[in-house]
Structure formats: C-alpha cells, structure tokens
C-alpha cells in the first residue's frame, strides 16, 4: 500500500549502577575490585583537580576554566574503555579523560593559565589539542578514523562533544560521513543538559540525542552518564565493535553540569537551585562510593586516603606548573609554519 510505515526505531538506555549504589548483576562488566577502585580513584582525582582549578582561577592564578564537576563518571568510564592505540579528540571539558590516561597534570593546568605551550601533547598520547570551537573537532575525528582504517591500525577513534555541539552542522557532516564509510569511530556525547544558558530542549526537539545516530545508519545508545559502569560498558562495547570493523556508534551519556559553564559564568541567572540540588543527590561519586561500600572496599578512612593521595598529586602539580617559566615572546611564532616566512622571521627578531 502506498501509505505504510517503512522505518521505526528503538533507542536503548543503559543503567548498571543506580543512584542508591545497587548494581544490575546481569549487566555488570567484568572488572576486578582493584579496577573498580582505580575508577573511583580517578573520579576523585578529577574532582579534586577541578576544585583546585576553580579556586586557582578565583585567586587569579589561572584563566577562565570550564569545570568538569558532575561529569566524572562519563569521563573516567570512557577513558577506562580506551587503549593506547586509540585516537582521542576532546572538546575542552574532558580533563577527567586526560587525568585517567595519565596525562601530565602540570601541563593540564598550564593550558588553563593561558599558555599555548601546553597544547603540545606529549608523543605517547594520541590526543588532539583541546578544541574550543564547539563541534569543529568532529569532522577531524572522522578523518582520523579514515586514516586509522587506511593504515590498518588496530585502533578506533573516540570523539567527545557536548549536547550543544549536536546543533552544529559539523556534527551532521561528521556523523553522516562516519555512517557512509562505516568508520571505526565512537561519538561520545556528554549530554550535561546545558550549553551555557540553553537547556537541551532548546537545542533539539528530538527526545534523545542518541536517536540522531539512527538517521545516519548506525546505533546510538543513551547511558546514565553518572553511572561509571554503564559508561564503561557502552563505550568499550562500541569501541570494540569499531575496532573489529563493524562501524561507528554514538553513546549519549546523560549527565549534569553541576557547576557554572565556566568561571566567567553565573548559572544562577538561568537555572533553578532545585534542579541543581536534585542533581547533587545524583552525584556520580556518591553512587560509586555506595557501591564500593557494599563490596567492603569503601570506608571513610579509605576515602580519606584517596582524597589525600589526590590532593597531594594536585598540590605537587600546581607547584610544578607554577615553576614553569613564562613563555618568551618568540614563542608566538612556534609552529606558525614549518618554516617561517621571511616576514615572520623579521617579526620574531624584532620581539
């Protein structure tokens, strides 16, 4: 008949660890207690890093900074799913990914003091520099996936972006190409429900962001982004599929930006304290603590030790970062071109 339904779709949503700390045993990924504890440690490290970065900014020792608070499970869970071979394309709010992968902490802080020398990622990391122009990293990640496949590398590409980024044309172009070429790439959307003052319902009329993937011919799944186990399970599943050549996927991590957009923002102007309070009760660290407590790992003393370790690591990193001498004016010209033009050389000499 001429008027028939020719397509319907479904979107899966995954929660493994619920806010009260209970887990769904059938879905629980195979992770040893030590690995779980490691996840917890990096979530705490990310939280402590973040708190310190905000206070350094307030003290005038750092520039504008975009807090990660509330998104630790999404970031640490994703990072645990990555291997050293995978390429990572961050936006600018993935410090938890960097920290979990062992990125030098002083360098991470240095970037947010406004020092571009920190954008040179150490060779052992396949991580692109932070991307400030929202969504513009997405097509580049697709290019990396083309290169990975061309070179037969045993790897996949993970690209991180926010809910706001899904409104950009670059998101469409990247998702479309990834689908057409069935590329080894995983689109990890940190849906923290806000893009500065615009709530996610101001970005899209779509019920979920995950379902956008359907239109490009691959699967999108929504996970509870405050559940580190669900994020880990979904992202590692998608990455493994991608590495096996079974095409791209999108993972929408539904989380919450607990802090202001940046230290230059005042979220009190546009969202209610009740909403913030509700999400505070769903803090990703809390539920991990409850779960680990039920496994006999978490105790107030053990938590104190983890916090102590994280604080010491950040203290040390802040000291090292502040010992870095300021850049010389000639640094302006670093990397402007492989070989500077005669005019650039002259300008450098004059500085």
């Amino acid at each position: 008949m001429p008027d028939t339904v020719i397509a319907t779709f479904q979107v899966r949503q995954l929660t493994i660890l619920d806010p009260s700390g209970d887990v769904d045993l059938a879905l629980l990924p195979k992770l040893s207690d030590d690995r779980l504890w490691e996840m917890y440690r990096f979530m705490v490290l990310t939280r402590v890093f973040d708190e310190r970065a905000v206070s350094l900014q307030r003290e005038g020792r750092m520039g504008t900074y975009p807090p990660v608070k509330g998104q630790e499970a999404t970031q640490v869970g994703s990072a645990f799913a990555l291997t050293k071979e995978d390429w990572i394309f961050p936006s600018f709010r993935e410090m938890g990914v960097h920290l979990t992968l062992g990125f030098p902490i002083p360098q991470l802080l240095q970037y947010w003091t406004g020092d571009e020398r920190a954008q040179r990622i150490p060779e052992q990391f396949k991580i692109f520099p932070f991307c400030v122009a929202v969504g513009s990293q997405l097509p580049q990640a697709v290019g990396a996936a083309l290169a990975v496949r061309y070179r037969r590398e045993p790897a996949a590409v993970a690209v991180f972006f926010g809910d706001g980024a899904t409104s950009k044309g670059d998101f469409h172009e990247a998702m479309n190409m990834a689908g057409v070429y069935r590329l080894p790439i995983v689109f990890i959307c940190q849906n923290n429900q806000w893009a500065i003052s615009v709530p996610v319902k101001g970005q899209t009329a779509s019920a979920t962001l995950a379902q956008k993937a359907v239109g490009y011919g691959f699967e999108g799944i929504q996970v509870d982004g405050n559940d580190v186990l669900a994020v880990y399970a979904a992202v590692s599943g998608a990455l493994e599929k991608a590495r096996r050549g079974e095409g791209p996927a999108m993972v929408e991590c539904l989380t919450y930006r607990m802090a202001d957009h940046t230290t230059a923002d005042d979220a009190g102007r546009y969202r209610s304290p009740e909403e913030v309070e509700y999400w505070r009760s769903r803090d990703p660290l809390l539920r991990m603590e409850r779960y680990l407590e039920s496994r006999g790992r978490w105790t107030p003393e053990a938590a104190g030790e983890v916090r102590g370790w994280a604080t010491a690591a950040i203290d040390q990193a802040v000291r090292e970062m502040e010992e870095i001498p300021p850049p010389e004016p000639a640094e302006l010209f670093e990397g402007a071109l492989a070989e500077l033009t005669p005019r650039q050389k002259r300008q450098r000499k004059e500085r």
Partner: protein
C-alpha cells in the same frame, strides 16, 4: 546626560530601536535569558518577549542563514555571534549569501541585518575568543564593516547600522566594553556609516586606528603633535578623511591589532601610495600584530601593538 559604558550604550541602542521598529529581532546564543555572555542584551527578552529575542541552538551557520532569510522577508534581524572566532563557521552564509543577496537577486531582495560580534584581544579569554580578522570581511563588497571605539559612537553607529538597507558587520571591541565611560545622550542620534572622525587634532603626523586600538593610540600620542583618525567604518573606508589629514601632516602611521599581512592597514597604505604620495614626506608606517595566530593570555601583551611600539613608529616617521 548619563555616563554609560559601551555595553550599556549598545543595550540602549538596541532597546530604543526595538521599541521604535517592531521588525527588529535579536537572534543568537544565550542572548535571551542570560542577556548575552557580556550582558549586552540584558533585559531585552524580559521587555520585548522571546519572539523578539531568540535564544538559538548552538548553530552559527544557522543563526546567520536564518537572519538572512528573516531580513529578506521583511524583518531587521540582529544576529549575535558570541565571539568573532565563531563567525568562521557562519562564513559561507555571510560571505556567499548575506553580502551578495542584493546582487544575486538583482535588487529584488536586500539583506538589512546587523551582525553583532565581540572582537579583539586583551581579555585573557580562551582560544578563538580574541580574534581580529576584520580584513577578511572587508573583502565582501556587499558587506559594511563597522567598528566603534567608545560608548558614544557605539550607540550612534549601531542605530545607523540598524537603519541601513544593507548587511553590516558590527564589531564590538571586547577590551573596551567596560573600560571607557562617556556621556551618551538618552535620545536617538545617528553616527553616519562610512565616515571617519578626527579623534584628536594635530599637525605633524596622522595616526589612523579603529576599535580597541584607538584608546591605546590616544595614550601613545599624548606627547606628540599628532592627529588621530578613528576610522569607525572599515568598509567603506573614508579615505577622504585620511588623505585630508595626511595632506596637512605629511606623515602617516596606521595601527591595528590584526596581523600585519593583508590587514586593513595594507588597504589604507596602498590608497595613500596611490592617491596621497605627493603629500607624504616619508614612508607610511604600520604597527600591527605579527603574522601568527592570536595567542592565549600569557603572550597576548607581546602580540597586541603596545604604546611603546606606537610611539616608536611615530618617532620614526617624524624623522622625515
């Protein structure tokens, strides 16, 4: 008269024009509820409603393209791009369409819109938040490029832009937003587009600047008999004003915070060479940023033209 800063002056111009002309509609990211990240549109959504102050999805190309369609269909949109660095993803819409809709439709459709965007360096913000690539846009023949240098001219230029039949790119110098307060008349007044102004009369050297550099130039020339020209509009360029001044002084220095190569200073210097060479006693000097991407906070002061560099250039041309 009230003492206003540039944020307040622009806000007042927008409010007055919206009250006067119901075709004026603001569209952009965070412009409504939040009042814009610099608070330039503060209070306008409360006053005029969400139909006239639209918070958009994060879509610069969408904002620009939609504004073009609105303009062609009888509105006077004021798209805001949150920072100049994000006009790049709207470049096609502005450059290939907004700036040539009148020409492409052989006059059937105009594109009366004012694209507002904060621009320029010195605010210690992240990457792409301190761009000054005005020259790119001056290559679009159908686009006017306007750069206020203080609260008074910001209001008058914005009102004139809002009444212009063609698209205007209105570049707001972020560093000056709250730095300068001036007497700004409460009532409406227009500052004509395409006209430069003598910001300070002088006899021995002409110093040309615009936007955020004007403030720095005025400080730099305090001890010189320098005439300072504030361009205010970069396309079209008021070369008559510059030539008139150089005819008197015989010397010219051009200061801009954009990179040197192919900056608007090149166009001004070329026109001086073509039409004013006989007035000149010596070479024209340009003080500009080096040909590198705009750096982050730690290096920005080594990038932007400094008072010392401006003074050195003035002293240099005074040798002739």
């Amino acid at each position: 008269m009230a003492q206003l800063n540039m944020v307040q002056a622009i806000n007042q111009a927008l409010a007055q024009e919206m009250a006067r002309d119901d075709r004026v509609v603001i569209i952009g990211e965070d412009v409504g509820r939040d009042g814009g990240v610099f608070r330039v549109t503060e209070g306008l959504q409360d006053r005029f409603g969400p139909e006239r102050v639209l918070d958009t999805p994060l879509s610069e190309s969408g904002i620009m393209g939609a504004a073009i369609g609105m303009a062609a269909c009888g509105l006077r949109p004021v798209p805001e791009i949150q920072f100049m660095g994000f006009t790049y993803s709207a470049f096609e819409q502005l450059f290939a369409h907004g700036a040539r809709l009148r020409s492409r439709s052989r006059g059937r459709f105009g594109c009366p819109m004012v694209v507002r965007t904060p621009y320029g360096g010195g605010i210690k913000a992240p990457e792409l938040h301190e761009e000054s690539t005005e020259a790119l846009f001056c290559q679009a023949p159908g686009l006017k490029v306007v750069v206020p240098s203080g609260p008074y001219n910001a209001k008058g230029l914005l009102l004139a832009s809002l009444r212009d039949p063609d698209p205007v790119l209105f570049l707001e110098p972020t560093r000056l937003y709250r730095m300068i307060k001036e007497e700004v008349p409460e009532g409406e007044y227009l500052v004509e587009l395409g006209r430069a102004r003598v910001a300070r009369p002088g006899r021995e050297v002409t110093v040309v600047a615009w936007g955020s550099m004007l403030e720095r130039v005025l400080k730099a020339v305090a001890g010189f008999d320098a005439e300072v020209i504030d361009m205010l509009t970069l396309n079209p360029l008021d070369m008559e004003c510059v030539l008139g001044s150089v005819k008197k002084t015989g010397r010219a220095v051009i200061v801009h915070e954009a990179a040197l190569t192919c900056g608007v200073g090149a166009e001004i210097a070329a026109t001086l060479a073509c039409d004013g060479i006989l007035f000149l006693r010596g070479p024209v000097k340009r003080v500009a940023a080096p040909d590198v991407p705009v750096p982050l906070a730690k290096l920005i002061d080594h990038y932007l033209p400094s008072i010392q560099q401006i003074q050195a250039a003035v002293e240099d041309v005074l040798k002739y």
